[in-house]
């Protein structure tokens, strides 16, 4: 296997691993808060579940970039990477969603936890409370777009 292919595979792996770690961390943290609210007020389950799931999207974005990358470097389709430069390009193309996914999932989780606190106090504020963690999502989506554009144009 060429060095370029190894680098491309590392990029593909990182986008799933780092974004996945961020999401697992985030969903776990928000899940603790959601469980706390549900223990006291089970009828809020559906609302807090949505807030818990918000930091989970980064893991999906990372998976998507991994699939696109694998389908272009000869693993699931496309042509195998033979030179180092192309491999490096795939690696760097995967990094935006890998790194931004990790960090944004963590911060989105903290915002989700705070929003779950808002819903716990006043369930009618669910709509407003959901907007706060949703704002963090913007930056994960921007990173996803950059990674997809980069991977598909190499």
């Amino acid at each position: 296997m060429s060095t370029g292919m190894v680098l491309a595979l590392i990029g593909a792996a990182l986008s799933t691993i780092l974004a996945g770690i961020g999401s697992a961390w985030g969903v776990g943290m928000a899940g603790q808060a959601a469980a706390g609210v549900t223990a006291e007020k089970p009828d809020l389950f559906a609302k807090v579940l949505i807030l818990q799931l918000l930091p989970g999207t980064q893991g999906i974005y990372g998976l998507l970039v991994t699939f696109i990358t694998l389908s272009r470097i000869g693993v699931l389709g496309g042509t195998a990477v033979t030179d180092t430069n192309t491999g490096l390009m795939y690696l760097f193309a995967c990094l935006p969603i890998a790194i931004c996914g990790l960090i944004s999932a963590y911060h989105q989780a903290r915002t989700s936890v705070a929003s779950i606190g808002v819903v716990a106090k006043d369930p009618d504020q669910f709509g407003k409370a959901m907007l706060f963690p949703a704002m963090v999502e913007t930056y994960a989506i921007l990173a996803l777009l950059v990674s997809i554009l980069a991977v598909t144009n190499i």
Binding site: Q32, A33, A34, V37, E40, V113, A114, I116, A120
Partner: protein, 322 residues
Amino acid sequence: MTNNYVYAVARIRVREKTLLTDADISQMAGMASADAVLDYLISRGWGSAESGRDPDAILQAEETKNMALMEELGVDKKVFDIFDIPRRYHNVKAAIKEVLTSDTHDRIFYDIPDFGRREVLAIFSEKHFDALPEAMRAPAEQAFEYMVSTRDGQMCDTILDRACLVAMTDAAKKAASPVIQDYIRSTVATADIRIAVRAAKIGKPLGFLNAALAPSEAFPVHDLAQEAAKGTEALYPYLQEHGFADAVEALKVSPSSFERWCDNCQIEAIKPQKTNPFTSGPIVAFYLARENEIKTVRIILTAKANGFSEDAIRERVREMYV
């Protein structure tokens, strides 16, 4: 780890909705009798199956529920040891007086495991001061010897009250929770102001003030003692200069208004925890808010039972956390 308390804080957020608000307290203050207040509390879920309509039993049940919730949430009991310090020093004061006067006052002791009436009386009856916690040993012995030689109960209390404040300050410094540190800082500052005001009003000398005031981060206590020794005219401007203008305003209204201000300072110290989702702060704040709520209800029930007017009750009741 910042998310260790995420689950517990989320539960506390829901529980905060069950706390009594200022409006609830105002409603209770306006009720016709202590019975009406009891009805209202029972309708809000206060008390237990065993407490019936006994006010003391209802309040005791609420204190038990409060501590049980903290245990259920997995908060280390040591976190709350600091709030037991005043009760322990109270038991020491009660024991010294009971041993030296031979009067029996079993109802004034707090029921603290390993430090209840029986244990503390045994220590002072046998002068077995080594059995006391290290920080308490020297002031307790000093207070005891002072009481033996002078029978001055007030000075005995003063020595132990100061030692209690010092012990709370030391414990707060070791506590990991900033909310506990803020709360104790506020408690010590208001206690010092309370002592200084009372001493200034009755013309206590500087020596007494220096012995009574505990070190505080809010002001140099030696300066506070000197101003208080000169009288209230010198003390009030000093308090205003050090950010306690509200205390002076309350003092001008009435003594009970000042007492209310002291208690409200402590609630103000914990209020920022209402928006903190990640540390143990909101849990400790909830515990203190419940304690404050129970104390306030006790004031209302006692005042109603003794026929106090609605205005007199409103002047005494404390601000609520929510």
